[in-house]
């Protein structure tokens, strides 16, 4: 699979902005957890920004997204505003799931975003169903199913890939290979060298990309989404990436060295994109302006979400089946 042509300046700058938005939200999220403003653990996306932003750049409005508890990055990249992401983490009515989901379950079906899943690989069968409906109803909509490298050892991944291949479903499996299954390094749970080897056996197209380079991701995503849209069937897209933060907030990260993290930080997706923009003639001031203006946008959203009302206890049955016995 060949990489599509690189982006124009405006699109690359837009992606740079989108990745900074995620980075700022995650930096603040880590802080909010430490300050105990957010209850329960969160799974942050810092370091993996290029994957969600690069893939979502290839999508149209009707396309659907299924993703995981490492949810903030995908939600933001797919267009859920920061105030709704923070709102959900704070358990506020303004949250994208009205405070019923929390950080692990961001989603907004009005935007064709399924609730993100806190069961590893649990969302894949449902994602294939959304793709199945698109095919059955003869729309050209594509479904993205994001999963991690650790998810590959769940049985439903095998099943979902089988069905997608057998029925040529318009779906792209985006496997974010950050090298760790929760707290366990890849060599302890991957029986073969590359993830693509595992996917190839199902008869799906396989693509690989540099998950730290948003243009590399966008290139393969565009081809994979195009294939799905045209009826050519599913693709398994492996994006080699790295998370700079722990598996979840509060993770002491004893399973990896500081040196390893520092080495990957030199390949920070923001750094790679900034260098590319500089080569195209953007000055430091222009790049700093992007970073700072998004920081302000995120800070405003956080404050707005924090002061927004919590759900009324009396509304607890909203969204439950009509016949639910209310007590």
């Amino acid at each position: 699979m060949t990489t599509a042509p690189t982006w124009g300046d405006e699109q690359l700058l837009g992606a740079y902005r989108d990745m900074w938005r995620i980075r700022h939200v995650e930096t603040r999220s880590e802080r909010l957890f430490r300050e105990a403003k957010v209850k329960g653990s969160m799974h942050l996306y810092e370091g993996q920004e290029a994957v969600a932003v690069g893939v979502c750049a290839a999508l149209d409005d009707g396309d659907a997204l299924s993703f995981t508890y490492r949810s903030h990055g995908w939600a933001l990249a797919r267009g859920i505003p920061p105030v709704e992401v923070f709102g959900e983490c704070f358990g506020r009515e303004v949250g994208c799931a009205r405070g019923r989901g929390g950080s692990k379950h961001l989603g907004d079906w009005d935007r064709r975003i399924l609730p993100s899943n806190a069961i590893v690989a649990g969302g894949l069968p449902v994602a294939t169903g959304v793709a199945y409906a698109a095919r059955a109803r003869r729309t050209s909509d594509v479904t993205i199913a994001a999963l991690g490298d650790g998810a590959l050892n769940q049985g439903v991944v095998h099943e979902a890939l089988t069905f997608a291949s057998l029925w040529r479903l318009p779906i792209v499996f985006v496997c974010e290979d950050n090298g760790y299954a929760e707290l366990t390094p890849g060599h302890e749970f991957q029986p073969v060298e590359t993830l693509s080897e595992r996917a190839a056996g199902y008869g799906v197209a396989v693509a690989e990309c540099d998950g730290m380079d948003v243009q590399s991701v966008a290139g393969v995503a565009q081809v994979a989404v195009g294939r799905a849209r045209s009826g050519a069937g599913p693709t398994f897209l492996a994006a080699k990436t790295y998370r700079f933060c722990g598996h979840m907030t509060g993770d002491a990260q004893a399973y990896r060295t500081r040196d390893e993290v520092e080495a990957w930080r030199r390949r920070d997706p923001l750094l790679i994109t900034a260098e590319c923009l500089q080569q195209r003639g953007f000055g430091t001031d222009a790049l700093d302006e992007v970073r700072d203006s998004v920081a302000e946008e995120v800070a405003t959203a956080e404050a707005e979400a924090w002061s927004a009302p919590e759900p009324e206890p009396a509304d607890i049955y909203q969204g439950a089946p009509s016949w639910t016995v209310q007590r």
Binding site: A64, G95, C96, A97, R98, G99, R100, G101, H105, G107, D108, W109, D110, L114, P115, N117, I119, G122, G123, L124, P125, V126, A127, T128, G129, V130, A131, Y132, A133, A134, A136, R137, G155, V156, E159, A160, T162, F163, L166, Q318, G319, A320, P321, S322, W323, T324, V325
Partner: protein, 349 residues
């Protein structure tokens, strides 16, 4: 066995009726749904040209084609989840789990996904999915093909659960289930497939949450659903003929929602109740119904609510052991006599 049960609570669009089997009634409901709603499709293992292992979907593949009656690989978790995704995206799938035992293979999809997605989306999405399955003992199935697991679906918030006892209810409740916007689990009984009864022709809808009084009697209330209703009716006839005890038999028809009001009204009149089901006794629907009745009818009750249910061990294979496991009509009769006797004793004290 030919069921003599009529359908007092049924809402029907057609006065004409015919005598058909429980399996044929389900087949009719599926055919009508496929005919009238282009978003309905069926999926499951061997349901297409194979017609299903109990032939419930026989002929539908030929009539509606492979796009509407979809054979799936043997992957219960995947096809249940796929059906849920299609439902979220606007279709009305009817997924068949060949045996309820296989629902456990699809456990995460059913209990963590299907049951929860609507609520945790903040009410932004709905899952109009019907899961059809069948359960129970029909002789020699062994412990992984004979279970009765309705309680799991009743306990897990998010599902409506139908337990049809008659061909007419099978047709009417399935039609209602497919039209509901929430996930429904429709549990057939393999031992009832070949039973016959009067079923309205054409459209026939039985609403969820409306119990049916199958027999009227003033001495005790028997509460059941699915095959248990037939045991209760048989027991009631024997109690009347040989012991002079007249039982009311209530078929709750759906366990979620549960029409406890109809049961409680009866108990207020009879002052005694026995709940009967095939599934294992501990933490079963009998415990739930007895508990709700104790809360509602404490002052009306002459005796403690009792249960007749399956044993708390896996279903064995050997015939005498299997029969020992299974609740029997005689167990219902004995339990009623003990309950009424205890009540009489309490009254005379």
């Amino acid at each position: 066995m030919t069921s003599q049960i009529t359908n007092p609570g049924a809402v029907t669009g057609n006065a004409a009726a015919e005598t058909i089997t429980y399996a044929a009634a389900i087949n009719q409901a599926l055919a009508l749904a496929l005919e009238t709603d282009p978003d309905v499709f069926l999926l499951g293992e061997d349901i297409g040209s194979g017609g299903g292992v109990y032939k419930v979907t026989k002929g539908l593949y030929e009539q509606f084609g492979a796009d509407r009656v979809v054979d799936t690989p043997i992957s219960e978790a995947e096809f249940v989840g796929l059906a849920a995704g299609a439902a979220i995206a606007g279709m009305r799938p009817v997924a068949e789990l060949m045996f309820v035992d296989f629902a456990l293979v699809a456990g995460d999809q059913l209990f963590n996904q299907v049951a929860k997605l609507g609520y945790l989306s903040g009410g932004k999405l709905r899952v109009p999915l019907t899961v059809r399955t069948q359960q129970g003992i029909s002789g020699g199935g062994g412990s992984q093909h004979s279970q009765s697991l309705e309680t799991l679906f009743a306990h897990m918030p998010g599902f409506a659960v139908a337990m049809p006892a008659t061909p007419a209810d099978a047709k009417g409740l399935l039609t209602a289930a497919i039209r509901m916007d929430e996930p429904t689990v429709f549990i057939e009984h393999k031992g009832l497939y070949f039973t016959k009864g009067q079923v309205p022709t054409g459209e026939h809808v039985v609403p969820f949450g409306v119990a049916s009084v199958r027999r009227d009697g003033g001495d005790i209330t028997l509460v059941s659903y699915s095959r248990g209703v037939h045991w209760c009716l048989e027991a009631a006839e024997e109690l009347s003929a040989r012991h002079g005890v007249e039982a009311t038999v209530i078929d709750v028809r759906t366990i979620v929602p549960l029409d406890i009001e109809t049961v409680a009204e009866s108990v207020a009149r009879t002052h005694a109740v026995v709940v009967v089901h095939e599934s294992a006794r501990t933490a079963g629907m009998g415990a739930e119904i007895a508990s709700q009745l104790t809360e509602r009818c404490w002052s009306d009750l002459r005796a403690a609510p009792r249960r007749v249910a399956g044993l708390d061990i896996p279903v064995p294979y050997s015939r005498p052991l299997e029969q020992r496991w299974l609740p029997q009509v005689q167990s219902v009769v004995s339990c009623v006599l003990e309950t009424v006797g205890a009540g009489a004793g309490a009254l005379s004290q």
